[in-house]
């Protein structure tokens, strides 16, 4: 079931009402049932995988906690990690490994390809589940005794398929003391869902049409058309994912659950390090805590290792997104960006600029160059293969082709960018994603009603709704 369909709205309203009136404990059971219905709507067979994966980590958590020896704890953790990654690799990366092996060694191994659909959200719920066993092993979390709470932590519908990737230590305590939502929760939820729907349905889904067509057939488009399609993808992926996250957070809030912010005006970042503090925050924090710091050692070993660790973390982050070398290159580009920025900051830490004008100008240059670096990196993220990415680069920068359509596409792209920027600026000013909630009811509903009318009418104009980009990850 997709968030951007009227069916989801009907589903959400029904689940909310029933949940609200059910007695305690039964309401959680109902919420879990509704979540499994939500997930099984795509393919009920993958529900077995979700339930199996949840129960396995629940029991591994218990075993790790109960084990007396450090060595046994470690063995259990590694076994749990192995099983989780095995499942993930089988469904998501198996064909990629086969193809890469073929490419490297020239052996024909097509017959080994498996033809199964990627279970929706597998990367997200696997990482969530792993955070539970990791934190128990690191003695930062006590295992829950409640199977229902654990299954809800992994599988509650708002965040199950595309995040935010919630850590067990943040959600399990909430679930253990889950109260009925109050008016403030409802208003916050409503506010987040309204903004999220605007972002996803009216910006993300509509700008996608321009992007998809031009990326599908780039040889037929001019340099400026390719540039604007890339700029529009930059807008699309933000509106799509940030919209999804807002709907997810808003939906969870209706049940009294707080999910973490996933975005914080990332395109207004001052530099690339700042960008990764603002973009897909839940994944960045997961990678930072468990991969960069815990596994690789962060910056505690030596300078060279710090840069290598940054690079490795971003390569893993890129690979997490999808089984394609283009994602790895995307991660690698960001890894290089982060390493260079870290080195630059270390090299210039003694430089003080007292002139405010110059400092402001340098900040502006830094912000703009960060934005265009991010845009350039998105090319590898979006392009289906390197051939397309190189073609884009070549036509945009070297062998340029002129077009009469530049003005039309520029106006369209700038309008989309303006809409995204407007939301970011308001969020920034109000210091909140649920800014609608901060207005008086007259203003709040004066804004929300026209948005909902446009959103719902638009939903009806599309025969098949556009899935979220991150559903495939």
């Amino acid at each position: 079931m997709l968030f951007n369909t009227p069916l989801y709205l009907v589903f959400l309203v029904i689940v909310f009402i029933v949940f609200y009136f059910l007695p305690k404990r039964i309401d959680k059971l109902f919420l879990l049932g509704a979540s499994y219905l939500f997930y099984g709507y795509w393919d009920w067979r993958f529900l077995l995988l979700l339930v199996g994966s949840s129960l396995m980590d629940f029991y591994f958590g218990k075993l790790i906690f109960e084990a007396q020896e450090k060595k046994k704890k470690k063995s259990l953790l590694l076994f749990s990690l192995f099983i989780n990654l095995l499942i993930l690799c089988f469904f998501k990366y198996f064909n990629f490994f086969i193809d890469s092996f073929q490419l490297a060694f020239g052996h024909k191994l097509d017959f080994l390809h498996i033809h199964v659909l990627l279970p929706v959200g597998i990367s997200f719920y696997t990482f969530q589940s792993l955070s539970y066993t990791f934190d128990i092993y690191r003695e930062k979390l006590l295992p829950t005794k409640d199977t229902l709470d654990y299954c809800l932590f992994v599988g509650v519908f708002p965040h199950m398929v595309s995040g935010p990737i919630v850590k067990a230590k943040l959600i399990l305590p909430q679930l253990a003391t889950l109260e009925k939502p109050v008016k403030k929760d409802f208003l916050t939820g409503f506010s987040l869902i309204t903004v999220g729907m605007f972002q996803k349905v009216l910006i993300g889904d509509t700008v996608a049409k321009y992007v998809n067509h031009i990326f599908a057939d780039p040889t037929y488009y001019s340099s400026s058309e390719l540039f604007f399609s890339l700029l529009m993808f930059t807008i699309q992926i933000y509106a799509d994912f940030s919209g999804y996250s807002n709907i997810a957070r808003g939906s969870a809030k209706l049940f009294g659950i707080d999910l973490i912010d996933n975005f914080n005006q990332p395109y207004l970042s001052a530099n690339i390090t700042d960008f990764w503090r603002r973009w897909h925050i839940s994944l960045s924090e997961w990678l930072r805590e468990y991969v960069y710091i815990w596994w690789l050692g962060g910056n505690r070993i030596n300078k060279a290792r710090t840069y290598i660790n940054l690079m490795l973390t971003m390569l893993i982050g890129g690979f997490w997104h999808g089984a394609n070398w283009t994602f790895i290159v995307w991660g690698g580009l960001h890894g290089v960006g982060l390493a260079v920025h870290k080195w630059f900051m270390a090299s210039t830490k003694n430089v003080v600029i007292n002139n405010k004008l110059i400092a402001g100008f340098l900040n502006l240059i830094s912000g703009v160059s960060t934005f265009f670096f991010v845009v350039l990196a998105w090319l590898f993220f979006r392009a289906p293969d390197f051939k397309t990415a190189w073609f884009y680069l070549d036509r945009m920068l070297v062998n340029r082709v002129r077009s009469t359509m530049t003005k039309d596409l520029a106006i369209i792209a700038v309008t989309y960018a303006g809409a995204v920027l407007l939301i970011d600026v308001v969020e920034n000013k109000m210091k909140s994603h649920e800014f609608l909630n901060d207005f008086s009811p007259a203003i709040r509903y004066g804004m929300a009603v026209p948005i909902w009318i446009a959103v719902i009418w638009y939903m009806y104009t599309v025969g098949i709704p556009a899935p979220f980009i991150y559903f495939q990850f």
């Binding site: 009216l202 321009y210 067509h213 057939d217 007259a442 004066g446």
Partner: protein, 361 residues
């Protein structure tokens, strides 16, 4: 009271903002059709337009409501070769950018081969069979525009006497009681026209088409009808879009009396040469080819360039749109390119034999 006023002001400002957003991003482009009292449904002139169903079109209509550049109605000198394109949505080519339309390839390639200016003016119009297009051609285009060549696209639908019915909301040629051609205005009896008349008669709703919100609602209702989905079922429960059957078939129907008269009338155009371009998708129409051959009319068959869905001699599918996954409706970018090359070569090789009195060969 204060809250109500505040609500209404915020509501109004938000509506205006969203109207601006929907209009500028072309999510709901202006309504393309309007009703001309003489010709029925025509395209609006000078509007920004966008369509992304199969492929992608972003552009404008010209002063005559067509999707290409503005051309003067009279050509500048005898050395300029001017070609008019007549036909339906294939010729309109609203699934590709203007610079990827086969008319642009023809202008460039033929211009290079002839070493002179070539103008290819596209008068294709979606869902417009020969009964409607030939009326517009004989009554308006052939009188107003100079043309050395007219490439008139025709296909299996044109064989039938469809009676100028509701499917073609434009003035059509029909047969009168003496089997002579006459103008038919059946579009005035269509439900769409009745709604349009009703709305435009209402002083408040008169400008309904100017509102992006209204157009969004209109499309929502229309889409619900097209997909056959009841208003409250969606997505998976509503059923996916039915996959059309795009196989190529052969229609063995004969050419109707009306259609014969239409071919004869159009072909009698005397300012230049009419060349019939016979499409082979989704149906081959051998009866049309036979009729044109019997009458000694000039024609080309697209079976010579397209083999089923593919560009002849290649494995390039001319009908598949990768981004939308739509298949078989119209030509994609590759298809237009192939058409441009094919028609350029055909015209270049046969231009000497064409009747083009206003073109200096």
């Amino acid at each position: 009271m204060k809250n109500l006023i505040l609500f209404l002001i915020t509501f109004g400002i938000t509506v205006l903002g969203i109207e601006f957003f929907l209009n500028t991003t072309r999510i709901t482009p202006p309504t393309l059709k309007y009703y001309n009292p003489v010709y029925g449904s025509l395209n609006r002139p000078n509007i920004d337009y966008y369509k992304a169903v199969e492929g992608l079109y972003v552009g404008k209509t010209n002063y005559d409501g067509r999707f290409r550049e503005n051309y003067p109605k009279r050509k500048d000198d005898k050395k300029t070769l001017r070609i008019l394109l007549m036909g339906d949505s294939f010729v309109e080519g609203i699934d590709v950018f203007s610079h990827n339309h086969f008319a642009r390839y023809m202008e460039e390639l033929l211009g290079q081969k002839l070493n002179r200016k070539v103008e290819v003016i596209d008068f294709g119009r979606g869902n417009c069979a020969i009964q409607a297009s030939s009326y517009y051609f004989t009554d308006y285009i052939s009188k107003e525009y100079d043309a050395d060549l007219v490439l008139y696209f025709t296909e299996w639908r044109d064989m039938y006497n469809i009676g100028g019915g509701a499917a073609y909301p434009s003035t059509c040629f029909i047969l009168d009681s003496n089997n002579n051609l006459a103008a038919g205005y059946l579009w005035k009896k269509t439900p769409e026209y009745a709604i349009h008349k009703k709305l435009t008669a209402n002083p408040i709703l008169k400008h309904y088409e100017s509102s992006a919100y209204f157009r969004l609602l209109y499309r929502a209702v229309a889409m619900t009808k097209i997909t056959g989905m009841p208003i409250m079922t969606f997505g998976k429960f509503g059923g996916s879009m039915k996959k059309p059957d795009y196989a190529t078939y052969t229609s063995n129907a004969p050419v109707s009396l009306l259609s014969k008269k239409l071919y004869d009338t159009v072909n009698s155009y005397d300012k230049g040469q009419v060349i019939w371009v016979v499409r082979n998708k989704p149906y081959n129409a051998p009866a049309i080819l036979e009729y044109l051959k019997d009458k000694n009319f000039k024609y080309v068959s697209l079976s010579d360039t397209f083999n089923d869905n593919y560009i002849k001699g290649t494995n390039i599918d001319a009908y598949y749109f990768k981004a939308s996954g739509q298949y078989g409706g119209h030509w994609n970018n590759d298809g237009h390119k192939a058409m441009g090359y094919f028609l350029t070569n055909r015209i270049y090789n046969n231009l000497a034999n064409c009747n083009t009195p206003n073109y200096e060969k």
